[in-house]
């Protein structure tokens, strides 16, 4: 088993997705929505992990990509949806599923395009600068959405049909995990880790670091866009304020808590950080204080994340968030 991690991982999540077809009838609505959030957060955290963890870049604008995907797919199903449904042959389950899938993919691709836009300046930037530029892009995306009247601007945008269900959420999560794990473990994917470990050395070895960085951004953004689409069709209402800097930080915290470049850890962290705030409703006031304190303490005492076990199969492909490069 330990030799085939990606297939076991994929199988495990596929089983969850299959179960998802059976479970919804018998479950409380509140828990159902928490399950949606878990799936969406897994997609967000795992995709950010490709950029921040494996490739060693630092993006603070993941919520921006999510917003692009969410708004695009919500616009497609809500405004263009009725016409498209007619084209697809009436409002049956099959055609509405097709519409939803199409809108999710469209959202993903639009977000990927935004990722390309962010990735291009990242060719020249690293570390702190990149963080600020991605933060800036996230804010710019938010301001642009705020001033777009077609999607409701500041007032928000209501989504006509809440198509999201457990099947879509978890099959998309499975797709995300599978794609990213397979990508990083492929021989092509070693390049991401090389860029993370030492950009100059990687370049000297003939790795096209620019291409890898842009690929990481585009792939990460695509899945964030998917997650945005699922989010839009689970909440049924979008506001630009829902995709602010704090949302990006929440995703970053998941990645760091799970361990940068440790997909399994990041998945666990995403689940934990979705359930915890629900369980600790009465501590809502202290939630962000706790998150920020956790960031600082983790960085000082355990930069490899909470869930860093020394599993054999993990050691091969995941970059430890080590402290090789001492800052001058």
């Amino acid at each position: 088993m330990p030799h085939r991690p990606k297939s076991t991982l994929f199988a495990a999540v596929l089983i969850i997705a299959a179960l998802a077809l059976v479970v919804p009838q018998s479950i409380n609505q509140y828990y159902l929505f928490i399950l949606y959030d878990i799936g969406i957060n897994i997609i967000l955290a795992v995709s950010l992990n490709l950029i921040n963890g494996y490739t060693g870049q630092f993006s603070l604008g993941h919520a921006g990509f999510m917003a692009v995907g969410g708004y695009t797919s919500a616009y497609i199903t809500t405004v263009l949806g009725p016409k498209l449904l007619l084209l697809l042959g009436g409002a049956g389950t099959a055609s509405s599923s097709l519409l939803f899938l199409g809108s999710l993919l469209a959202g993903g691709f639009t977000a990927a395009l935004a990722g390309l836009l962010v990735g291009l300046p990242s060719l020249r930037l690293r570390g702190d600068y990149l963080a600020i530029v991605t933060l800036g892009f996230g804010e710019i995306i938010r301001v642009v959405i705020q001033s777009m009247d077609a999607v409701g601007g500041q007032r928000g945008f209501s989504v006509a049909q809440t198509y999201t269900n457990l099947f879509w959420t978890f099959s998309m999560a499975a797709l995300t995990i599978y794609t990213i794990v397979a990508l990083v473990r492929s021989s092509y994917g070693r390049g991401f880790i090389a860029v993370h470990d030492d950009e100059i050395a990687a370049e000297a070895m003939g790795i096209n670091t620019t291409q890898y960085k842009v690929t990481a951004f585009v792939t990460g953004a695509f899945f964030a866009g998917l997650a945005g689409g699922l989010y839009a069709h689970s909440k049924g209402f979008l506001t630009p304020g829902g995709f602010d800097f704090m949302k990006s930080i929440e995703i970053v915290v998941m990645v760091i808590l799970g361990g940068m470049g440790n997909t399994l850890g990041v998945i666990l962290a995403a689940i934990l950080l979705t359930i915890l705030p629900e369980a600790l409703r009465s501590f809502e006031k202290y939630r962000m204080i706790l998150y920020s304190l956790m960031l600082v303490i983790l960085m000082i005492t355990r930069p490899q994340g909470l869930f860093a076990w020394n599993w054999k199969w993990r050691r091969r492909a995941s970059p430890a968030t080590s402290n090789k490069k001492g800052s001058p």
Binding site: G56, F58, L60, P121, R124, L125, G127, D128, Y129, A131, I132, V133, L135, G136, F137, E139, I140, V143, V144, Q146, S147, I200, A201, F245, I249, V252, I256, K285, Y286, M288, I289, Y291, S292, L293, M294, L295, V296, M299, I300, P303, T321, S322, N323, K324, K325, G326, S327, P328
Partner: protein
């Protein structure tokens, strides 16, 4: 034309606040080579210190007088200098030899911690305070100068001169320049790096505190998240001027302030927050070293 000049004056006042914050970013970057995200929140704490100091001070001194204002400024600057030193000591010093990413994440963590603790301690509701009575002065037949703007410009120029004296004329300033030039060589020359870094944090934080009070008297209210946007814009200003360069930070701050005022005056105020990021992306694409920065070579 008159309106343009008026916008320019407003931009200059706003820009000098950005300049004061940008100096802290640039000085810390100079000695430690990282962006102190928490700086924008020291600015916020500075404003709140001013708020509480003026409340307490009004019992002992007649409020609205110049003496009271100076006392408020000094108290807030001292408190924030200590806060800056404390942050460096607790959060950044243990990470001195770690990777840049680790330090960056810690800095973001410290920043968020201060914002949300601030919401808990100071309360999330906006507060306001007045330091000196404000009055509009008319000059050149139509241009309006608010007395607060005069205070802002005056204090900024004064602090810039003092800072320049410290950096160029004192022993500590020389040590700061040596450390930012070359860490190791400075240590070999017998400079106590830790003391210099603490001093830099203190100095930068004191300037941020002054900026916080200036911001509080020019704008209607202060709240625990007030630092986020000015902090980011000041950071952009530091990059525009060339990170690490003190005159650069001052020039960058003023430029960003003017650009922002002109854009919100002539284009749309919706974009006033986005414009700084647009500027940042353009500089980083076309002149990453900024206006006055030195190009650095990365060695293997």
């Amino acid at each position: 034309m008159l309106e343009f000049l008026q916008q320019l004056i407003n931009g200059l006042a706003l820009g000098s606040i950005y300049a004061l914050i940008a100096l802290g970013y640039t000085m810390v970057y100079g000695v430690l080579r990282f962006i102190n995200f928490a700086h924008s929140d020291v600015f916020m704490v500075g404003a709140f210190c001013g708020y509480y100091a003026s409340k307490v001070g009004s019992r002992f001194l007649a409020s609205g007088t110049v003496t009271a204002a100076i006392v408020v400024f000094l108290m807030s600057m001292v408190v924030c200098a200590l806060l800056g030193i404390l942050i460096e000591r607790l959060a950044y010093r243990p990470l001195r030899e770690r990777s840049k990413l680790t330090v960056l994440i810690t800095a973001i963590g410290v920043s968020l911690l201060m914002e949300f603790t601030g919401q808990l301690v100071f309360g999330a509701d906006p507060k306001s305070f007045r330091l000196l009575p404000s009055k509009n002065l008319q000059i050149f037949g139509g241009l309006v100068f608010n007395t607060n703007q005069v205070v802002v410009l005056g204090v900024t120029v004064l602090l810039l001169v003092v800072l320049q004296m410290i950096v160029l004329k004192t022993k500590m300033g020389t040590a700061m320049r040596a450390v930012s030039y070359n860490h190791r060589a400075a240590a070999l020359m017998g400079i106590n790096i830790d003391v210099v870094i603490s001093f830099t944090f203190g100095l930068g934080s004191a300037l941020a505190a002054a900026a916080g009070i200036l911001y509080a008297i020019s704008y209607p209210s202060i709240d625990p998240l007030m630092g986020v946007m000015p902090g980011l814009k000041a950071f952009v200003a530091a990059v525009l001027g060339g990170v690490g360069s003190i005159p650069g930070a001052a020039i960058g701050g003023v430029l960003i302030g003017i650009i922002e005022t002109l854009v919100s005056g002539y284009v749309s105020s919706t974009y006033r927050d986005a414009i700084a990021f647009g500027v940042l992306i353009l500089i980083l694409l076309f002149k990453p070293t900024g206006l006055l920065g030195q190009p650095t070579v990365e060695k293997v």
